[in-house]
Structures are given as structure tokens and as C-alpha cells.
């Protein structure tokens, strides 16, 4: 990592004084409405086919699933919040920003691969990275890496259900994909939003 900046490394105080660009929290978006409609229609169809017992069976099963997931969601949200607070913006935009090159994509890939937890961790953390200066390319590499070569889902679900051979083989095939996806994302992004890119450079 080059240390050519003439000024001294600024202390972490900027993390305190400057509120991080907050996420827009939509109360109820269209995605929620679509899912709610899908769930209502499906539940009605299940009720017609299997009666009240069928509906209750699924409800109790999913309620216990929900109870199990809830603490992990909290952990994911806290992880995302802490990470976006403690990562130095300047360093992140240097090592994961638009100018970070292949190294940035590799860092994003490595980060996605070692990140513990499920979607409740990956998306809050990815969102935090975007907020502190990672570009779309590196963040795409991270998300794709988490979903394709991350060990969390593979260990918890894929190996028990699909078997170790298939899973390891599938992961080997997937190894190059995060970097390629990130590179493609970066390639398309600078052509799609040339202005935004220069804004980010200036910031």
C-alpha cells in the first residue's frame, strides 16, 4: 500500500463528527407488498388444498425458523453498523474504490468468502462497505463471493443436502466468478455512469 499522501493519517475523529451517509429506510416498499400478496395467495391455496391443519403446520414450522433467525439478524445489523463505523473511509476507498484494480476485486472476494453468517450479515456489511467508499465492482465481488464460495451456506445447507463431493466441486467451479462479476460490474458501471464515477473520485 503506497503511503504517498503528504498529510499525516487523519485520526479517526472523522468517524465521529461526520455522520455516515445513512441508508434510506423505506417503511413499506413495493417489494414488501409483492411478497405479502404472494404469501396471502399461497396461504389461501394451501388452505384450500390441505385445510386449516396444513396452514397451521407450516405456520408453526416457519415461526420456529423465524425465532432461530432473529438473533442472527441482530448480529448482522450490529456487524454492519460497527464495520461502517470503524473502517477508515479513506483506506476503504483506496483499497476497494473505483481505482483499486484487480487487488480491490480480490480483497472483496476474500472478504465475502470469510464473512460469517447468512444474508442477515452479508447485505448489511456490503451496504456498509458501499457507504464508506467501496465501489460497485468490489462490492459485487464481495456479494457474489459470499453467495457462491462463502462457507456459511455451504456448511450449513449445501453439504448436508447435496453432498460433499458436489458442493466442493461446485465451489471450485465458482472460484473465478466473483472477480469476473466484479470486473464486469466495474466495466459496465464506468460506461453507464461516467459522471458519478468522477464524483466519487473527487470525494
Amino acid at each position: 500500500m503506497s503511503e504517498l499522501s503528504p498529510k499525516n493519517q487523519p485520526p479517526a475523529e472523522d468517524a465521529e463528527s461526520e455522520p455516515r451517509p445513512g441508508r434510506v429506510r423505506k417503511p413499506i416498499g413495493w417489494s414488501t407488498i409483492i411478497i405479502a400478496a404472494l404469501v396471502a395467495v399461497s396461504a389461501a391455496l394451501v388452505w384450500r388444498r390441505d385445510g386449516t391443519d396444513g396452514v397451521l403446520d407450516i405456520l408453526t414450522h416457519d415461526l420456529s425458523l423465524f425465532g432461530g433467525i432473529l438473533p442472527r439478524v441482530l448480529a448482522g445489523c450490529l456487524l454492519g453498523a460497527f464495520i461502517s463505523e470503524i473502517l477508515p473511509h479513506e483506506k476503504v476507498s483506496r483499497s476497494l474504490g473505483p481505482k483499486s484494480g484487480l487487488k480491490g476485486l480480490l480483497i472483496g472476494t476474500a472478504f465475502g468468502a470469510i464473512l460469517p453468517g447468512g444474508p442477515f450479515t452479508a447485505y448489511p456489511v456490503a451496504s456498509a462497505l458501499l457507504a464508506v467508499g467501496a465501489d460497485f465492482g468490489a462490492t459485487i465481488a464481495m456479494v457474489v463471493s459470499w453467495t457462491l464460495i462463502g462457507y456459511g451456506r455451504a456448511v450449513a445447507w449445501e453439504i448436508p443436502i447435496m453432498g460433499t463431493d458436489f458442493t466442493l466441486w461446485r465451489i471450485v467451479i465458482s472460484l473465478p466468478l466473483p472477480v469476473l462479476a466484479g470486473a464486469l460490474g466495474r466495466f459496465v458501471y464506468v460506461r453507464l455512469y461516467p459522471k458519478r464515477d468522477s464524483d466519487e473520485d473527487a470525494a
Binding site: 441508508r23 434510506v24 439478524v73 450490529l78 461502517s84 444474508p119 451496504s127 457474489v144 466441486w169
Partner: protein, 166 residues
Amino acid sequence: MSAALLIDMLLWGSVFGVGLIAFRRGPPVFKASLREGSMDFINIVPRIALGVIGSGYIAAIIPQEVITGWLGADSGWLGVATAVVAGAATPGGPVIGFSIGTVALKSGGGVPQVVAYVVAWALFAFQRVILWEIPFMPARFVWFRCAVSVPFPFLAAAIAMVIGKP
């Protein structure tokens, strides 16, 4: 020790690790991020509740044979393309996605098609995108990420065709 427990320990270990770093930056930093994280949690819970409690119903009405029938070994690139659509359209969580993949493999599905299915499901299963990714990430990023991910299940299938079976 179960894998899930191990992953939970890693997860909470990471939370405590980064929390400790934040705390050493000073209590205001720690408190601000704690509040931020808790607010995210409170905002996200209703959507998670809807998705998790509802996904069982969505999965219950989609017959799995419809999806597995598309992934035959002789289906070639058309089969790969259908596998990608099927992966994106599969409702429910990982149990359903991987079970469908296993059923397809056991009932004569082609390996490249099943790989394309599993990779497409991992990249853009609609329910995960709508339920998890959009609430947490800027929508513009999510659509962009999905669009540039489209070639990759095909690429995975091509690699599977070249290097052969597991």
C-alpha cells in the same frame, strides 16, 4: 458440535470483535453504531417476519417436479437457460433450493444444468433478492448486481461441461 452452532459462534465473535474496536475508539462511536445497528434491526424485522413465515406457503404450492423436469441431462444449453430461470424463480430458503437440485441430480438431471441451477439460485433467487438484498442495499446496486450476474450461471455450466463430473 453442529455446523450451525459453530457459525453462530463465529458470527457473534465477529460482532464482539468489531464492537470492541468501536468501543476503543470511544463510547460515542460505540453508542452511535449500536443505535444504528439496532434501528436497522427494528426496521428489518417486520419484513423478515413476513418473508420467513410466508416462504413456507409459497414453497408449498410450487410442485418440485415442475422445476426438476426442466433440468434433464440431454437438455443442453436450453436446459441450462431453463435452469437459470428456474433457479431465479425458486421460492423458499436454501433447503428448498438444494433439495430441488438433489432431486434433479437423482432423477437424471444433467450435471451442468444442476450447477447452473444452484449457481443461479445462489445469485438471484427472487425471494432472497426481494426479502433480504433490497431492504439492506440501495435498490440501484441490487438491480445492477443482478444484471451483471446473468452471464455467470452459464459460465459455471460451461466450466462444468469442460471439466466433467465431480
